[in-house]
Symmetry: C2
Subunit: 424 residues, 2 copies
């Protein structure tokens, strides 16, 4: 096995982590021979001759075997990856957005060029979930995959719940520690875990689902009254990505979720990620590891580079033989939706409402709603509305009459019922 | 890729699980063409012509690609595996004793024959720990590996602690469910997890350590007074396998251990196994999955068979480049040792004693002892002595004077001190 020559794009948090893991690793035969960066003025700790600002210097260099793409911009990343594969180079990337939005195309391109693209570092940092799904569960029908896929929001939620920090301060800290993406809205609005979930749908169930078809809500609408509700009922709140198969139908979403004290995801804190998996043969599996940070993600990238040394490729067995399994967004989830102004919420979009609490400063309803409605409804994305899912095992058998509720809401709008309540 | 033809040895719990997983798997191209069994009189659910009692019928059949060895007897298993590799067949086995006791030889044999032997099913059932160590952490220095490696003792401890079942009843139930090995002493005395630990030492640290050099104590000496001690101090008890590297030295052992309420292994119950891992880059990782049972282990075996279809082999990178890392059994562990008769215990073997409780029906001391002493001392293996380790993070700063203790022990033997105590 000869030493692998690596051309690296991007030298941010993960790029530097990769450089460090390669330097401190054992038995790895390879080196980074050139790094392409954008900013000509930034000071860097490595010798200047290692850097270039011209991507062709890497992409057209026949001595370079592997391209490692660790830049932020998904469009530019796709261009680099496409050229690399077409130029006969294998690729390792940690760009979840680029992979999720172009997976069908990338699978096709791999088949055409015969070259591999690996992206373990794109999903849950140090947890080897893609390769485990590919190799270990390649023949096993998966029933469910669920977890905490975003380190920065999990860090923020931990600080809010355990240290009573406020949201902005916690977000600032996550940024400082390098856990948050350069654009934190991708994290806090649940896009980042959605990209990861979309990638796992291919490896777990064989279905390619464009991220824009998957419902995602984040943690940026959470109100202190929501935290109080959680505390009062013994819940924590985690941002949960999940995909559940029932027969041939898979539903998937990313939503904040109330988590009971004895749930195995409850104590997954800070920048740790977790993936739970239920398979037909293995039953329940749980993987926990750091989902963000320079070294953990760098190590995941290194493990992909290493796999290329024995020509490893994802086989996409389930993708090529998915059979009847397909994505269905019409499943119902039970959610808590809190609001200040009753006109901000549209109760008619709920299939059923089982509980409500109306009060002057903040009200909520609990009810069943279809994922497809959550995806399309405008009121859900109003920053004054917060929507939190209940675990499927939580039961709400109550069924309130929607007409009565509407009358109450009308009264609430007029402020009548409210005053009554408060005076009591 | 052509369909794999499998010759199977053994049709017990795991063999039947393998048959079932192959029949219910997706996209697996392969079939079991012959099964070699020992018992001519046992009734079996499959057609008679699938079975043979003559091992040559499988080992000498050129149309068979892969031998799957799932029998109990380690000596016979080694013979089968050796012949298979020499005959140019790849092998999958779940026989932890055979692999652990012959790993050096088996690595050598693989290199000589060019054929592979895979044994994921031998270690922690459904948890893909060997392949993860090989492929994902192949370049990463591992600091620690620790966990619950035996499903049947974990099942027994769960029943004892959660359902107040007695030991014999819990053992009987574990046997009925197919979690216990045919000879349960391998489980309850900690040999089974020791074999697994010994195998992981090779894959995590690159060192081959013969199982007989590793200290193992089981759960069969546990007394009700030990359970009371645990309850009183908020501990659970788990049978823990662990290997910890400090610079170039690795120590390893299997001991029952007191586990605090917030420890991530505390809620791993029933037949579930868990592996925690600390690496220099990834930091902490935790894997949880079913460690025993027909389907979970069958699925692990199937994943190995599947890996053979693309000529996968363990690379043993760390074994071939272990450098200065070596096994050292002179590390000290802090243990609780309980006894009825003071003459049963040898206090002089302790490096230091930090706590003691002497009473008529059952006494204990807490102190530091070298693993090498635990391995060699006879008193430790007396069924009336139970030894339980404390987690390394538990601190015992107290230091009792050994001479005073000896005098007290002498008095205890005479029954004087005791009566005093009881009369108080």
């Amino acid at each position: 096995m000869r030493a692998i020559k690596i051309g690296l794009f991007g030298y941010g948090c993960v790029g530097q982590g990769l450089y460090q893991t390669i330097n401190n690793s054992k038995n790895f035969e390879g080196e980074i021979v050139k790094i392409c960066v954008k900013d000509r003025n930034k000071k860097r700790s490595l010798p200047t001759n290692l850097f270039t600002f011209n991507k062709e210097e890497i992409l057209e260099d026949p001595s370079i075997d592997v391209i490692v793409e660790l830049i932020d911009n998904a469009e530019a990343a796709l261009e680099i990856v496409t050229t690399a594969l077409k130029n006969g180079k294998s690729v390792v990337t940690a760009n979840k957005k680029m992979v999720a939005e172009n997976l069908e195309y990338l699978i096709d391109l791999q088949q055409k060029t015969g070259k591999a693209i690996l992206y373990e570092g794109a999903v849950c940092g140090s947890i080897p979930i893609i390769r485990t799904l590919e190799e270990y569960f390649g023949h096993e029908p998966i029933n469910e995959i669920k977890g905490i896929f975003n380190g920065s929001t999990n860090y923020i939620l931990t600080k809010i719940f355990q240290e009573k920090m406020d949201y902005d301060q916690a977000l600032e800290q996550a940024k400082e520690k390098g856990f948050a993406e350069s654009d934190p809205t991708l994290d806090v609005k649940g896009f980042d875990p959605k990209y990861k979930l979309s990638i796992l749908l291919t490896h777990a169930f064989g279905i390619n689902v464009s991220p824009d078809k998957i419902t995602n809500l984040g943690i940026d609408h959470l109100q202190s009254s929501d935290l109080e509700f959680a505390h009062k009922h013994g819940y924590g709140i985690k941002l949960i990505a999940q995909a559940i198969r029932k027969n041939d139908e898979v539903f998937a979403c990313v939503l904040p979720q109330f988590i009971k004290a004895d749930h195995n995801l409850r104590n997954v804190n800070n920048e740790f990620n977790a993936v739970t998996l239920n398979g037909e043969f293995c039953d329940d599996q749980l993987f926990i590891g750091k989902g963000a940070g320079s070294l953990p993600t760098g190590a995941a990238v290194l493990s992909d580079i290493s796999a290329l040394s024995y020509d490893y490729k994802y086989e996409y067995k389930k993708h090529y033989n998915q059979g009847k399994v397909h994505f269905n967004n019409d499943s119902e989830v039970t959610v808590y939706a809190s609001f200040q102004k009753p006109e901000d919420i549209d109760l008619n979009e709920f299939e059923q409402v089982s509980d409500k609490y109306f009060c002057f400063d903040r009200s909520y309803v609990i009810g069943k709603i279809k994922l497809s409605k959550l995806l399309r409804s405008k009121w859900v994305y109003n920053s004054k509305i917060s929507v939190i899912q209940f675990d499927q095992s939580d039961e709400f058998s109550n069924e309130l009459d929607l007409k009565t509720l509407e009358t109450e809401i009308l009264e609430l709008r007029k402020g009548q019922k409210l005053r009554e309540k408060i005076s009591v």
